[in-house]
């Protein structure tokens, strides 16, 4: 702190820093230490970034080198007044705890020119009254209901699905907003504020003041059409192209009970398929912070467990119809994954087409059901004369009777909740249901927010358990989700034409569910996941841990953009490998054979994917045995058709893009008053000028000064 104080006159402006370079004893080495003495870098922060769609830009923007303001901690209404009107040293960077991070406060700050940025300290548990920065009617313009299809149901006219949604994630802020977690860094910032920014006895605080600089300069602007056009111009005319945005995209995971030939695309004669779908992604206000517990993980863990449960029966007693498991990516952003799959089916680019679909069962948010009560939603427009749909519903209801669950239908006139199924309905009136834990509005009080995490789903462990013991500990949430998975598996089996006799042998394993919940919600780098994935992904799992010291880390479910170093998102990899291990068979192949099995008899890359899996690591060894798994599990692109068709203003398909940026940085330091800064600069310039004059003078009189002085000294002796 003393060092900070002694150097405070230098301020935080990099340009001003240049004027002070003469104090560096050694170029380079010395200066970096000066920088360290001035700034305290905040590393564990997550920014809010700019996203764009066909019509809008959302998120946050800072100036190129970052926005700087005097730090002020927001605790009461007076603090808000201080920032917005009475404080004497604007602009301010506001530090707030998560309770204040609500719409009314943020909109007040957004409207003020005295705010240079906001830092939000995230606590472990969310506000009791709930918090959702998402829309109250998610994906309302990309679902099935519109003026031409059930106009009375469009725009959440009947049911507001996410009543707590305040749409904060869809605002456009002109200042940067960062999040940081409660902990050491938050304490350092608070201490800096308490030490410097509070006046003695109610007087105005005196300089030097504690300031914060937040940098998150976004390249893209306005909308997707603009940024894609600029990408295009850059790639065609620029020598060093600087792209400004990328489409949100990743991969869907799909698998089928009986393998489908991947080399043949389009309609499959005589094939009738039951689709079991769910979503893989979530989001929050901040970039790449998306625990997605209830909104994604609960659903896809249920479907994975159901796929695993079906395996025991289908080998000996396969149902007459095929079942296609699909895990859609990017559904949060106007159904990227499902709209792409439907588009591919329509255009003969997928292994089956829409006519092959018998019916569809979607697992929505299911982890927060009360007393085993689940709800089956169906579409009131297309269901009027569908026998398949009523069969599906009666199947599910009768299956639930043997379990400790009850399944009911909500009021007839209620539309479907936001679901991938809506994208299928846009193309074809396919019979189907969406299984959820809510009758009307979501049970989820933290929809698409930071708090939709393990804790909210009650995935917690008795204290004192080691990570290995936690992995094996069966939580109550896992038990109830395993019940739901059993229900799903049995209903799917029955729906696909399986016989009732075998239903009782289909049971989801609570232990596997609890392991999945641990891996997907608490710690992805665990021994079980490591044993299921390929050695390359194990390396990624370990290196993906950003802050090893700060405890276990689950994967984040924000769909993001594909990068060269990270072509497929970690959750997608994990789901693919878990599914392959659950539904595949062990093949006695070496690692090289596993990579290229075409030449071997009885193996086919068209029917199956081959996965080289690390295998469990024996107690006193660092490397597993490794084995080859053969499973009909595949990845297909979840990249919105709008980008394929170059329709960047599309109203039918998702147009979401993420801006690029160069630097994300947050730091605090002490600033001097403007007067002192100017005085320092003035003195510096004056010294420079004086030294120039003196040097010139000395130089011109050099003969006189130096030679004569030597002579005079010598004569003096």
């Amino acid at each position: 702190k003393l060092q900070l104080l002694s150097l405070n006159i230098m301020d935080g402006q990099p340009s001003l820093l240049l004027t002070c370079l003469h104090i560096c004893p050694l170029p380079g080495v010395g200066c970096s230490s000066v920088q360290q003495k001035i700034y305290v870098q905040l590393n564990k922060t997550f920014p809010c970034v700019r996203l764009l769609n066909a019509t809008h830009q959302i998120g946050c923007q800072s100036s190129v080198s970052g926005d700087t303001g005097v730090l002020h901690v927001l605790e009461t209404e007076t603090d808000l007044d201080w920032v917005l009107s009475s404080g004497p040293n604007p602009p301010y960077v506001v530090l707030m705890v998560a309770e204040h991070f609500n719409r009314s406060t943020m909109m007040k700050l957004k409207g003020s020119a005295r705010v240079a940025g906001v830092a939000v300290v995230i606590s472990k548990a969310g506000p009791a009254q709930g918090f959702s920065p998402h829309h109250s009617c998610p994906n309302q313009n990309s679902g099935v209901y519109s003026d031409s299809y059930g106009p009375e149901l469009a725009g959440c006219n009947v049911t507001v699905w996410n009543p707590l949604g305040n749409s904060l994630s869809y605002e456009d802020f002109r200042f940067p907003i960062f999040s940081l977690h409660e902990g050491e860094e938050a304490d350092v910032i608070r201490k800096c504020f308490l030490d410097h920014n509070r006046g003695v006895n109610g007087s105005d605080p005196a300089y030097p003041l504690c300031a914060m600089q937040l940098a998150s300069h976004m390249y893209a602007v306005k909308d997707t059409a603009t940024c894609m056009r600029r990408n295009d111009i850059q790639s065609r005319f620029s020598i060093s192209p600087e792209f400004v945005c990328d489409a949100l995209a990743d991969y869907n995971v799909w698998s089928s009970l009986k393998p489908l030939n991947n080399s043949g695309k389009g309609h499959l004669d005589g094939e009738s398929v039951v689709i079991a779908a769910t979503r893989l992604d979530s989001r929050s206000f901040f970039w790449n912070e998306a625990p997605g517990g209830e909104s994604a993980v609960g659903g896809f863990v249920t479907l994975l467990a159901a796929a695993q449960a079906l395996r025991a029966v289908v080998e000996d007693h396969p149902p007459s119809q095929n079942i296609l498991f699909t895990f859609f990516q990017g559904e949060t952003f106007d159904y990227i994954g499902s709209s792409r799959m439907v588009y591919d089916m329509e255009n003969g680019k997928f292994v089956i087409d829409l006519d092959n679909i018998h019916s569809l069962v979607e697992i929505g948010q299911v982890a927060l059901h009360r007393n085993g009560q689940l709800w089956l939603h169906s579409d009131p427009v297309s269901r009027r004369n569908s026998s398949v749909r009523s069969e599906l519903i009666s199947n599910m209801k009768s299956t639930a009777l043997n379990l400790s669950l009850s399944v009911a239908e909500p009021d007839v006139s209620q539309p479907l909740p936001p679901s991938s199924f809506q994208r299928f309905l846009r193309a074809r009136p396919i019979p189907g249901v969406v299984l959820t834990d809510h009758m009307s509005a979501f049970s989820n009080r933290y929809y698409e927010s930071l708090y939709d995490d393990a804790e909210y789903l009650n995935v917690s462990y008795p204290s004192g358990l080691s990570p290995e013991e936690q992995l094996e500990y069966v939580t109550d949430t896992a038990k109830t989700l395993a019940e739901v998975a059993t229900l799903v598996a049995r209903s799917l089996y029955k729906q696909a034409g399986g016989l009732d006799d075998h239903l009782s042998s289909i049971n989801a394993d609570p232990k596997i569910v609890t392991q999945m919940l641990y891996g997907f919600l608490v710690q992805s780098n665990n021994s079980w996941f490591r044993s299921l994935v390929s050695p390359d992904i194990v390396k990624n799992l370990v290196s993906a841990i950003l802050f090893p010291a700060s405890g276990p880390q689950p994967p984040q479910y924000y769909v993001g953009v594909p990068t060269s170093g990270d072509p497929v998102k970690m959750p997608t990899w994990l789901v693919q490998y878990v599914l392959a291990n659950f539904t595949g068979t062990l093949r006695n192949l070496t690692q090289t054979q596993c990579k290229n099995p075409e030449d071997l008899e009885g193996e086919s890359k068209d029917l199956y994917s081959y996965f080289w899996v690390q295998g469990p690591v024996p107690p006193n060894s660092t490397q597993g045995e490794g084995y080859c798994v053969r499973a009909p599990v595949r990845l297909v692109k979840a990249h919105s058709p709008a980008f394929e068709l170059h329709q960047y203003s599309s109203r039918d398909y998702s147009t979401w893009t993420e801006s690029r940026w160069k630097q994300i940085q947050a730091r605090i330091f002490l600033v001097a008053s403007r007067d002192l800064e100017m005085l320092t600069l003035g003195v510096g310039v004056a010294v420079l000028l004086v030294s120039l004059v003196v040097t010139y003078f000395i130089n011109s009189k050099a003969d006189l000064l130096f030679s004569s002085s030597r002579e005079t000294t010598s004569t003096a002796y």
Binding site: H217, T226, I233, F237
Partner: protein, 101 residues
């Protein structure tokens, strides 16, 4: 080249070349012409070729002024309306600014 050592015919020749070259959309040649031959045309004691040099320098200056006026007007208009023009302006731009419309 030092103009002092060049014969007067050579000066006139050079001045004319620069003057004519400026018409190939090269206003900088006119600028150079004006700066270089200003002394020759207006300060030096009269000589035979001076009359011609004077004309060329005057015309170069006029052309230069027109160019400056035209460019200033266009740049002002372009910078002011670039964001508004959207697509057209992007295609007219050599470097596209990052993060602003």
């Amino acid at each position: 080249m030092n103009l002092e050592r060049v014969p007067n015919e050579e000066k006139l020749n050079l001045c004319r070349k620069y003057y004519l070259g400026g018409f190939a959309f090269l206003p900088f040649l006119w600028l150079v012409n004006v700066v270089w031959f200003f002394r020759e045309a207006f300060v030096k004691p009269p000589y035979t070729e001076q009359q011609h040099i004077k004309t060329y320098v005057k015309r170069s200056a006029l052309g230069l002024l027109l160019w400056v006026a035209a460019l200033t007007t266009w740049i002002t208009i372009f910078q002011h309306f670039r964001a508004q023009w959207g697509e057209v302006a992007d295609y007219l731009s050599f470097t596209i600014p990052l993060g602003i419309p």
